[in-house]
């Protein structure tokens, strides 16, 4: 079984080819540099996931961001084996996912891994409480235990009092809370989110993102989160992968991606991002200088937090690292420079 050292999720060279016929040849074509369209025309097959590798540490939130057709939904389904990958290795805390037989897979899904769906995937014929308890019912846990557990989770996601309603009597945001509660009820180590908030309107979406952040702070699960919304990716992800045409353009922390987009495609998303909200003070610190005034700021703070201070008085501020040692200063000019880059 897995030790603490191993990543919770580890993907190596995962491919998914759709369509009947010889997928090995299609993979060779794709490796040789043929585009998806060319391959489709030649072989009638689609390369949905193209040589994807990444790993997610225990307790980390990993966001895969891509537009529709980028293969992100297929990728997360490979990760849960709702779809069989064509090639590659996937291990979960050291266990080989693709070697598991149907029974082992079922055991994995019953306890270690759970999923939240884009259109909620709730069971319209079951009450909210029975939806949440579904995962426990499948495991043949007795009724009083599962109702108690489901009620507890129901309160955690803020739906107390809605247990006896049916899903379609709830608003979209509340339905997704049920979806989240249902996934949490089986106490999984790994949570997969397939665009869970994209069917919700913007205000509710923001609220649900905050809710997830709040829950994650206390529960520390390993999360893989799929989205088409770059802002959502920045807000939730410890690390982000940008997916295009089946493969990853870039993997990095939000700050790494925003400060150094790897491809023109990634740059297009980054251009619209308010940098002051993403980049940390560290990225605008002028090293080696010092100042006599007493104002200080942590290097990990976001730039937007120091703007009011700089507007108040045009004097440099001392930047402190995690050990409270001064590593340099920030001033109006250094902040203005990085914000101006955004205008281009």
């Amino acid at each position: 079984m897995g030790s603490g050292e191993q990543p919770a999720i580890d993907l190596r060279h995962v491919w998914k080819v759709f369509g009947p016929g010889d997928s090995a040849r299609t993979i060779e074509l794709s490796k040789g540099g043929s585009s998806r369209a060319e391959i489709l025309q030649q072989t009638k097959q689609t390369v949905a996931v193209r040589d994807v590798s990444f790993s997610v540490a225990q307790g980390e939130t990993f966001v895969v961001m891509g537009l529709s057709g980028s293969g992100k939904s297929t990728l997360i389904r490979c990760l849960s084996r709702l779809i069989e990958p064509t090639q590659g290795q996937i291990s979960l805390s050291g266990d080989d996912l693709l070697a598991m037989d149907e029974d082992q897979l079922r055991q994995l899904r019953r306890g270690r891994m759970s999923m939240v769906f884009q259109h909620f995937g709730l069971f319209p014929h079951r009450k909210v409480i029975d939806n949440i308890a579904y995962g426990l019912e499948v495991q043949k846990i007795d009724k009083s235990t599962r109702v108690a557990r489901a009620t507890e989770i129901l309160n955690t996601v803020g739906l107390d009092g809605w247990a006896d309603h049916y899903p379609q009597q709830l608003s979209g945001g509340m339905q997704q809370r049920v979806g989240l509660a249902r996934a949490l009820a089986v106490d999984p180590q790994i949570l997969l989110f397939d665009e869970p908030f994209s069917a919700l309107d913007p205000l509710i979406r923001k609220e649900m993102q905050d809710e997830l952040t709040r829950l994650q702070k206390t529960m520390q699960r390993t999360i893989v989160f799929i989205t088409h919304d770059f802002a959502e990716a920045l807000r939730l992800g410890d690390r982000i992968a940008i997916m295009k045409d089946g493969s990853f353009d870039q993997i990095g922390t939000p700050e790494e991606i925003v400060s150094a987009p790897a491809t023109p495609y990634v740059r297009e998303f980054v251009n619209d991002v308010p940098r002051a909200k993403v980049l940390s003070v560290k990225s605008v610190t002028v090293a080696g200088q010092s100042t006599t005034n007493s104002r200080t700021v942590a290097a990990s703070a976001k730039i937007e937090t120091i703007i009011p201070m700089l507007l108040e008085r045009d004097e440099p501020i001392t930047v402190l690292d995690a050990n409270n040692q001064a590593i340099g200063v920030v001033n109006r000019a250094s902040v203005a420079n990085i914000l101006q880059a955004e205008q281009k």
């Binding site: 079922r106 055991q107 899904r109 891994m113 999923m115 995937g121 579904y134 499948v138």
Partner: protein, 621 residues
């Protein structure tokens, strides 16, 4: 394309000049012979061959036992008990008006004096539908989950819906003999397709995400089926039962040809005795049975969380005991049959009305009748028999098929039409086709304008729609009764009845097409200053054209379905032959007729569907 079409045109001319007029008997392939041989074999071995002794006859006994038990229960019950039960079941949905109406519909057959006949019919329905559910639901589940099963089932189900019911009955009479049980089995076969289809549909329509979610929680296939797919398919399955009941009631009259008894037999007799009044009154009893079963089954379908009357368990038990007591007491007091019968008092004025209509409008109906028979039907017969060569007919049909649907369809059409000739049913087919064309033509003249008019008046349509839908539950023979009275026996009452039968769905589909026209297109036309007429003809009807063609297609199928009934009232053609085959019984003839009708229906259906597709605006790629 153009060059090929002109090539085909030359081919038609050549076929006409060089071919043989009519369809020569010498080309008959003698399809009937082996089947007739089988028939005599079955006759000889019915009593001692193992297949009958150990499989078919025991099966018949089981069905008979079911029929007898249900019948004796209903006969034992005092008349008010079923009414109360129906009221209670429907009232659970809080629709008190509907519940009262349904309870009254239960009482109606008693009121008109056909209580015991209704019980016979209902027992047959109950047993047939029960068997349908027993076979249909598992088949539907299999079809939904295993693509291979679906591929195998689809052509069979499609075929089952075009084969005329009389043709089904032939092998059943052959293997099972005559009586209530064979009639029940025939009904099962006829009414099974919607059960299978709607079960499969219900399972397939379960949201994929719900199934995926269940998978993600580690549910086994069996758990997914039992706890997710089947529960979510329940509304669709109940709709399937509902449709099955309606189909079964639809052949109540035809089933009497193999000894079903009950209401169907009553109706059949009124046609023979020319008593349209009593025919209508008894038919209304069939409609009442249909209505009750429809309402009861629909009240069982509910959206989760819908408001229902909640009854405490104790109250429920108490009322059940009370009802049982009332039943016993009623029984002891002899309140079994309905206390009064107003049967003839309903029927007589209707009969008088029809007689009056007949004598008064003789000046119109007689010439109309003669015109259709002499100028159209007889001429068509001579045309196809003596003027046009069969090769030219095949070539023309193939050319049209090529134009609307390409060479594959063209080949299929040519083979199909030739095959009808080869079975020796050329003239019967011509007869049926001509009658069909006349009926469809009249139906189009009536249904399309009304449909187009209604399409833009949703409020009026909301009122008329249930009436139009109710028309479809009336057994098709009932349509023919008044027209036999008015036109006397012959092809014309069949044609007129077919028109009346086909119009409602024609109107519904046409108005649906008009209503579904994209509002933005209409608004665009208005902003460019188009007149009402330009909007109607240039936008609404143009865009609704595929639906309108499908409406015509539906009407063609309905008219063809009436061919048998038409045969029962003297219409001739394939319909008459099929009854001849059944009463003979002449299985060979039956198979010839069956194939001819199926081929004709399939060709017409495919050609019209292809025409509708041609008219569809190209879909974005």
């Amino acid at each position: 394309m153009k060059r090929r079409l002109s090539g085909l045109f030359v081919l038609i001319i050549l076929a006409q000049t060089l071919g043989t007029r009519g369809f020569p008997d010498s080309l008959n392939i003698g399809l009937a012979e082996p089947i007739t041989n089988l028939q005599s074999w079955v006759r000889k071995n019915r009593n001692d061959h193992w297949m009958f002794e150990f499989i078919l006859n025991p099966f018949i006994s089981v069905v008979n036992f079911g029929l007898d038990s249900v019948e004796s229960v209903f006969t034992w019950l005092p008349w008010f008990v079923p009414a109360i039960i129906v009221f209670a079941v429907v009232a659970r949905t809080r629709r008190w008006g509907v519940a009262t109406f349904a309870a009254l519909a239960v009482v109606y057959p008693g009121l008109v004096g056909v209580w015991s006949e209704s019980i016979v019919t209902i027992s047959l329905m109950a047993v047939a539908v029960f068997i349908c559910v027993l076979i249909g639901v598992p088949l539907g589940v299999l079809a939904a989950l295993k693509p291979r099963v679906e591929v195998a089932l689809r052509p069979i189900l499609d075929g089952m819906q075009t084969v005329p019911a009389t043709v089904y009955l032939i092998p059943i009479v052959l293997f099972f003999g005559i009586g209530p049980a064979p009639a029940a089995i025939a009904t099962v076969i006829y009414a099974l397709p919607p059960m299978v289809r709607l079960t499969a549909l219900g399972i397939q329509q379960v949201p994929k995400s719900a199934v995926e979610a269940a998978q993600m929680f580690g549910a086994t296939k069996r758990q997914i089926l039992a706890k997710v797919q089947l529960p979510l398919a329940v509304p669709s399955i109940i709709t399937g039962i509902n449709q099955t009941v309606m189909m079964a009631l639809g052949i109540v009259v035809i089933a009497t040809l193999v000894g079903a008894g009950g209401l169907g037999q009553e109706i059949n007799q009124t046609v023979r005795r020319l008593e349209p009044g009593r025919g209508l009154v008894v038919s209304l009893a069939v409609v009442a049975v249909a209505l009750v079963l429809d309402r009861v089954s629909m009240s069982l379908v509910s959206t989760p969380g819908a408001q229902r009357v909640r009854v405490k368990r104790n109250t429920l038990y108490m009322s059940l005991i009370g009802l049982a007591l009332a039943a016993v007491v009623g029984r002891l007091l002899g309140w079994v049959e309905f206390p009064f019968s107003w049967g003839t008092s309903f029927a007589d004025p209707i009969d008088t009305g029809f007689k009056w209509f007949r004598t008064t409008f003789n000046v119109i109906t007689r010439p109309f009748n003669d015109f259709i028979v002499r100028e159209i039907l007889v001429r068509a017969q001579t045309l196809f028999n003596e003027t046009i060569t069969w090769q030219a007919v095949v070539a023309a049909a193939a050319a049209f098929a090529f134009y609307v649907a390409g060479w594959k369809m063209s080949l299929f059409t040519a083979c199909g039409v030739t095959f009808i000739g080869l079975t020796g049913r050329w003239l019967d087919a011509v007869d049926t086709l001509t009658q069909t064309i006349v009926a469809v033509f009249i139906s189009i003249l009536i249904a399309l304008p009304i449909g187009i008019w209604l399409g833009r008046r949703p409020r009026i349509e909301a009122i008329i729609a249930p009436v139009l839908d109710a028309f479809q539950t009336i057994p098709s023979l009932v349509y023919a009764i008044p027209f036999v009275m008015i036109f006397s026996v012959g092809p014309v009452p069949g044609i007129v009845a077919a028109v009346v039968y086909a119009i409602p769905p024609g109107i519904r589909l046409t108005s649906l097409g008009i209503r579904q026209v994209n509002n933005e297109s209409v608004e665009a036309a208005i902003t460019f200053g188009a007149t009402q007429r330009q909007i109607l003809w240039g936008v609404r009807i143009k865009l609704a054209m595929p639906s309108i063609i499908l409406a015509i297609n539906q009407m063609v199928m309905m008219v063809l379905a009436m061919a048998i009934i038409s045969g029962m009232v003297g219409g001739g053609g394939l319909g008459y032959r099929s009854i001849e085959a059944l009463t003979g019984p002449d299985s060979g003839l039956g198979v010839e007729v069956g194939l001819a009708i199926v081929i004709m229906a399939t060709i017409l259906d495919r050609l019209l569907q292809a025409t509708a597709r041609r008219m569809q605006a190209p879909v974005a790629v």
